[in-house]
Structure formats: structure tokens, C-alpha cells
Symmetry: C2
Subunit: 208 residues, 2 copies
Amino acid sequence: MSAADEMTHGADKPWGEVSPEAARKLLVAAVEAFAERGYHATTTRDIAGRAGMSPAALYIHYKTKEELLHRISRIGHDRALEILEAAAEGPGSAAERLDGAVRRFVRWHAERHTTARVVQYELDALSDEHRTEIVELRRRTDAAVRRILNDGVKAGEFDVPDVPGTTLAVLSLCIDVARWFNAQGRRTPDEVGELYAGLVLRMVAAQK
Amino acid sequence: MSAADEMTHGADKPWGEVSPEAARKLLVAAVEAFAERGYHATTTRDIAGRAGMSPAALYIHYKTKEELLHRISRIGHDRALEILEAAAEGPGSAAERLDGAVRRFVRWHAERHTTARVVQYELDALSDEHRTEIVELRRRTDAAVRRILNDGVKAGEFDVPDVPGTTLAVLSLCIDVARWFNAQGRRTPDEVGELYAGLVLRMVAAQK
């Protein structure tokens, strides 16, 4: 699945927040180019060409290549945080909230795997200021999952000897779906979400 | 930790199988360059320069940049397979073998995280012939873990409704250590290995 497919077929319209249309097209082209060749091997000329535009037209919307990467990373991290905070603050027992968080987080990483790979693997290419901003979003993402685990421990629903370590493992398991997921593979994003929710509930020894 | 540190301080001397010394130095330089800038943004001239050699000296040992990536990928995958097959065929109960496999596999991905990232993220840059060879090694790696899980299920030690899916998740969890592991971070490679072995034994509902 290409970044363009991810844009067109996504249930929640990724990049829908980017306007005008030319800016959105350039972002999709940038995701594809970064995923294929890496950030450093991609030029703004490559990105403009992929979007069927001139380099001058690109500069109207993005001053630098790093600005494109930052937009991609920011939107990706905002979405991840939104999914996990909604789960953390939602109704239901800790087990139900953890189940929902894992299912939705996995589905996002499977459906948007091209975007997620760029977001995860090119963090070092961000400017210091932008990296600091993204690290703060990641801290909040981590806190949302930790909150569900702590709630479950307090309620006697979970048995988790190492909450920070288990939080790290749960997030890592979900994020790595972006690396191996193959749209032509055997499992749909929903099926992976279901499998992983079950495994994570075992990791926290959730009461049945 | 840089690729050079990984070479010098590794318990089992990574790249020790590469000789002569000039070929080994070039491999270390290639891992560092690929990890920093990506495969496509790196030239053989960059790699030679990092190793303090001329491009002509590089060509004595490696005909192409792809040959360097293939050597790195092959050695990395051979080592991963060696770790997991030794665990699968070793003595002990299925739980003991799974515990050992996860500890050693995690430790390798933590200690050699720079190498492991290159090996995992640059698969698409291999030639068709080399990619086919590496995919076969990955199939055998997967089979080694699946064998331990199947042994545990047969012996009544584990309860695993979906063995292929759980195998995938166990390997993914361990591999992703290479992405997030930080040598300056809070946890040592051994501590991550211990945490993850415990979580994986819960994933398979191992009898205590």
C-alpha cells in the first residue's frame, strides 16, 4: 500500500488536515519518497516531481525538506497520542481500555505503515527544536498507556511488576507492526489488532 | 554506541569473521554511514573516507555498495539464526528454552542496535538474489521460535491459540529493541532481556 493509497482509502482520511490540496499532495509525495529512498537521499526536487509540481511551487508551501518531515512526524504523532489518550480516558475497565488502545494503535500502524516507518525511522533528521517537540508528544503517548496499566494494578485487575518496562514493551510491539506489516499478507489490520490485544492482556496478567 | 564500539566491546567480537583487517574496517564504516544517513544517501567514497582509505582500496574488497550491505545483512542474520536455533535445539523444558532464546536475542539487538537497524531497515536495498537469500534465513529464524512454541503446546507447558501469530509477535518485540534501545538509557541489555523473557512467558501462558 503506497502513501497515496493510505491517504485515499484510510477510514479517517489521513492528511485530511492538510490544505490546500497542493500542500497535501506534496506531503503524500514526501512520505513515499522518504520511505523508498530515505530522508537524506531525497531532494525537494524529487518530491515536487513526484507530486507533478515544480520546485518553485513546493517552496510556496514548505520552505525546507525538514519542514515536510516535521509536518509528517507531527501529524503522525498527534494521531497516535489522540488514539491512546482517548483509550486512557474512555469508559470501561482497565482491561477494556487496554484492549481498545492496542487494537486501534495496531490498526493505525498496519494501515499507515509507510507513514509510520518514516515517522519512526527519521526522527534523527529533525531539527533540535522539532525533535524536542516530538519527544514531548512521545512522553505523553507513553504516559497514556502507563495510566491504563496503573489503573489496572490499583483496581486489582492486572499484575504488573514493572509498569514502565511493560508500557515500553506494549508500545514497541504495536509500533513494530509498521515494519513487518504487508498489505498483501495473511492478516488484516483488524486481525493483527485482535491477536495483539489478546497477547497484551496476557502480558499484564489481566483477570478474565 | 557506535558500530566501532559494537565491534570493540562486544562480548563475541562482531565482524570478527571478516578478514583481512581492511575489509573489517570498511564494514564497520559502512554500518555507521548507513545508520546515520541511510543506504541510498551513502556513497562508497563516504565509506572509504570514514575508514581512512581511498575508494580504490575499497574496491579491492567490495565491488559495490550493495555487496557491503549484503555482507552486513548476511552476518547479522546468520548470528540471529544461530542464537535462535541453539535455543530451539538446546536442553531444558520449552519454557527454559524460550526464556533463553528471548534473553539472548534481545541482548543481541540491544548491544548491536546500530547494526540491527541497518539489517532491518535496508532490506529493500538488497539485490533480488540477495534478498531471496536473506528471506530464507528469516524463514528459518521464524521456524526456530515456532518449534519451541509447538514443543511447549505439545508438552502441555504453554497455552497458545495462534502459534504463527505469537511467533511473529515474539520476534517483533525482540527486533524492535534495536529501534528504541539507548546505551545511555536506564536499562542494560541484560535487564531488557530479563523483562522481555518474563513478558513472553506470559504471552504463551507458561506454567510456573
